[in-house]
């Protein structure tokens, strides 16, 4: 029992939340606030020192905070119940994209609602783990073969639809968010090993039948960016140059030559970590990672202390998905992974991602502020 001691402590400490009438988790909010502030700070420098993007991003963030607080007011049971509806809506929206979506840069990812445009794959990022969590929590843990198959099906349909847009990056992330639920639900080791080998076997199939030429190009570029210095390799060469030239402490805020002189592409969106690394150096990167780990760690504690199987799975999946965004983004910008369009969570400019993230954190906050009913292993 000794090894659960720290959980017990946390539970004791979190006991105050029983009396939380507004469903607010101050710690979570503070960490998010710190991350958002960091994001705006870097964004100002990354967007040629203009307030245009900063203002818009700040607006999205404020809306995000508001949305998060609203979402947190709904009981966890509510989210569990509407999971099916939510999931169905997401599927419909994804189908609609394929039928009437707006095409941009060779991909169809957006739906035009008349007053605004939105990306249904963003809903899927929430809807898929929500649905898988709801599905698996109704059954015995660890899931049987039947339920594993069922869960995989739930994940595979939207992932396939997103793949058709085509958006390999989001498709993989959506798949991952669902898979995390399975993993947290205790997916048997043999399935884990099996899925590992399936993934290995699927890689060549993906390469041959699924991946488009530009996607293959990105993988090839990762392996040898110098082959096409001014073409496909440009982004990755410029981003590693930005990161590397930042050194330990960086060139100083708004002093990064790679970003300020526009050598770095997409500096305010997907590649913003390179701006941070260039201007604040390794220390800046460490600082950001610390914030992220703090957030992920805190979310995992929320998950552990969650009051139902559904809440646990959902909270765990959200934290892991969040981490995976950060991991994929930081890896692709530094040349560890091929460039897939994954923004750096809470730092990269982009309204859709902010809204989705805060929606997720809203659910987390709902989970964390739930009155504790079931006991722990005391």
């Amino acid at each position: 029992m000794y090894k659960y001691d720290f959980v017990r402590q946390l539970n004791t400490k979190g006991g105050d939340r029983h009396q939380n009438p507004f469903h607010i988790d101050v710690t979570l909010m503070l960490i998010l606030f710190a991350l958002c502030l960091t994001g705006l700070f870097v964004l100002y420098s990354a967007s040629e020192q203009s307030f245009y993007y900063v203002k818009r991003q700040a607006t999205f963030m404020l809306a995000g905070f508001a949305g998060m607080l609203i979402v947190a007011q709904f009981p966890v049971r509510f989210w569990e119940r509407i999971a099916v509806v939510f999931y169905a809506a997401a599927l419909l929206a994804l189908l609609a994209v394929l039928l009437f979506g707006i095409e941009a840069k060779g991909a169809t990812r957006w739906l035009n609602l008349g007053f605004t445009r939105f990306q249904p794959s963003e809903i899927a990022k929430i809807a898929v783990p929500l649905m898988v969590s709801a599905y698996l929590s109704r059954h015995v843990i660890p899931p049987s073969f039947k339920h594993v198959t069922g869960a995989l099906l739930i994940v595979a349909v939207p992932a396939f639809l997103i793949l058709r847009q085509p958006d390999l990056g989001t498709s993989i992330l959506v798949f991952a968010s669902g898979f995390f639920v399975l993993f947290l639900a205790g997916l048997r080791k043999r399935y884990l090993v099996g899925s590992f080998f399936t993934a290995l076997a699927a890689a060549p199939l993906l390469w041959l039948f699924v991946m488009r030429d530009y996607q293959k190009q990105r993988v090839l570029t990762l392996l040898s960016p110098e082959d096409d210095k001014f073409g496909a390799g440009w982004n990755i060469i410029q981003s590693t140059t930005a990161i590397g030239s930042g050194g330990l402490s960086g060139k100083g805020w708004t002093e990064g030559t790679q970003s300020q002189l526009n050598f770095l592409p997409e500096s305010h969106t997907d590649f913003i970590i390179a701006v941070l690394a260039e201007e604040f150096g390794l220390l800046g990167v460490l600082g950001l990672c610390a914030l992220y780990l703090l957030l992920v760690g805190y979310c995992m504690i929320i998950a552990i202390n969650a009051q139902s199987q559904f809440a646990r799975l959902m909270a765990g999946s959200i934290s892991l998905t969040f981490f995976i965004y950060m991991f994929v983004n930081m890896s692709m910008v530094s040349g560890l992974l091929p460039v897939v369009g994954v923004p750096l969570p809470l730092i990269s400019y982009g309204g859709s991602a902010i809204v989705t993230l805060f929606f997720g954190f809203g659910i987390l906050m709902a989970i964390s502020s739930e009155p504790k009913r079931i006991g722990t292993w005391r």
Partner: protein, 634 residues
Amino acid sequence: MLQDNAISDPRKEQKIFYLRVMTSVLIVLGLTSVILFRYFDLQINRHLDYVTNSNKNRIHIRSVAPTRGLIYDRRGELVADNRPSFTLNVIPESASNIDQLLGRIGDLISLSERDIERFMKRVKRNKRFQSIPLKYNITEQERAILAVNSHILAGTEVSAQLMRHYPEGALLAHSLGYVGRINDREIKKIDPEQYRGTDFIGKIGLEKFYENILLGQVGTEQVETDARGRLMRILDKTDPVPGSNLTIYMDTELQRIAVEALKGERGALVAMDVKTGGILSMVSNPSYDPNLFTSGISQKQYDGLLNSPDRPLFNRALRGQYPPGSTVKPLFGLIGLQHEIYDMDYSIYDPGYFFMEGIKRPWRDHNSDQGGHGYGVDLAEAIIESCDVFFYTTGVKTGIDLLSKESALFGLGDITGIDLPGEKRGIMPDRAWKKDKRRQEWFNGDTINMSIGQGFMLTTPLQLAVMSARIATRGEQIIPKLVKSIDGTPVEPEFAGEKISYDKKYWDYVHQAMVDVVHSKKGTARSISKGITYKLAGKTGTAQVISINEKEKYDSSKIDKSKWDHALFVAFAPAENPQIALGLIVENGEHGSRTAAPIARKVIDSYLMGFQQDSKSSATAKLAGGFSNPAESN
């Protein structure tokens, strides 16, 4: 332990979940370490490499082309100038569709296939966001058209740079030469540092010979640019040093008169200042417009020049090798006298033919049909009337060895050392030469042919002028020069060796004979003495283009003009105090006396009168009398 179990056990579920979360934490920490290790590697281990890369990105050394040195003639007239010229450039990365853009430009202004081809070649090897020249030398009108349509021409820009211009065009082309775009062959030879920022290099003529002096020192600017190549700021700067200005001895006006005097005949003329060796005029007719080459001559135009039967690109003055004919007689006579092969009283009988012992075929005198020059032909008469038989006779006596060795002192058979590239040596044959080239012994017959400037002997018009100058100065081995001063610093005259120490009486004798060629009643060039106010020493020459055997008679009406004899003339004046020496040839001009000599008279007249005008103080009388050195009187 974790068996399939239909009964839900919250505690067990929690435990499974807890273990999985812990596994996740380990994975999260592991993956984070991977990332951090990567960033550590980039930012700490390889930091300096990336700093270098990052600086390479933004900091560029831009070359600032130096202004090419100007060239002035002796009167200070600008003969090689730099003029602003406009180039249409395209930045391929800034154009949305390069083919479409080229099509649009082609609709507005004329673009040649060659422009496009050259442009496309450079697109492949240039850096991103660099402007690449599409069309050089666009006109004022084209600039206006492009400016008006600039809204549909994104990615284009018009830049100004200095372009070489030769205000006198064809007049001085063979001396000045021209600059042109650096070609692949030249790129290998030049120091690329020095030529950053310029596309041009001297191709021929003075422009080539003085390339290093005219070029100047390239300047650099260390600039910071953004990814689109836009200049952000200048970090450091070294100004270029302009090339040195040259002043040449040539007189544009005199050159014009010489060209006019040649009246469109193919030929060449070189006039030298005998004191300094300065080239006063150098004509090779016909000529070409060097400005065609600076802006990139079209293949059609170039083929036209190259294939013209008149060979305008060929510098006859420097590279044309002709038999000197009788123009070498004064020199050969002088050599004979000095080496006491014969004396000034020595004379011969000229029956119109010369027979060599043991050889049946006679050598014919040019006036053999009039019975030759008769009795008592001495050296002076042989020069004045251009008697061949005298020189056949004395030539054999003097011998090839002496003639060849001494002629070399007068600049024959080797390059003169003028400051122009591509000079030809001509041929001053000797025994060794014949053995080497013809694999034969030297025969007396060869000497006889050579003694009247025929046979194997070949000279360039420049060599003829140098020979006259060295005779005129009584043996100063002056080297011809085009450049008078570099950036105002005079270029010292150069000599090929010590003054040739021939006896004064022989110089006097030969000078007088050459004066009499023009001024005496029997002189072959007496026709040009009319109205002359100074003493002009000269010698006519006729060089055979085809050999006529002894039974035939040369009749120009029966043969094609391209096979007519070449007319030659060498001269210096004023005889008492020579200022100017000259050598000239009119291809297929038939007779030196009729065609070539009048041209020499016009040029020398003009120079001496012009000189008198320049010095202002001197009266006409002074022309006939002693001339002072122009350098002193100016």
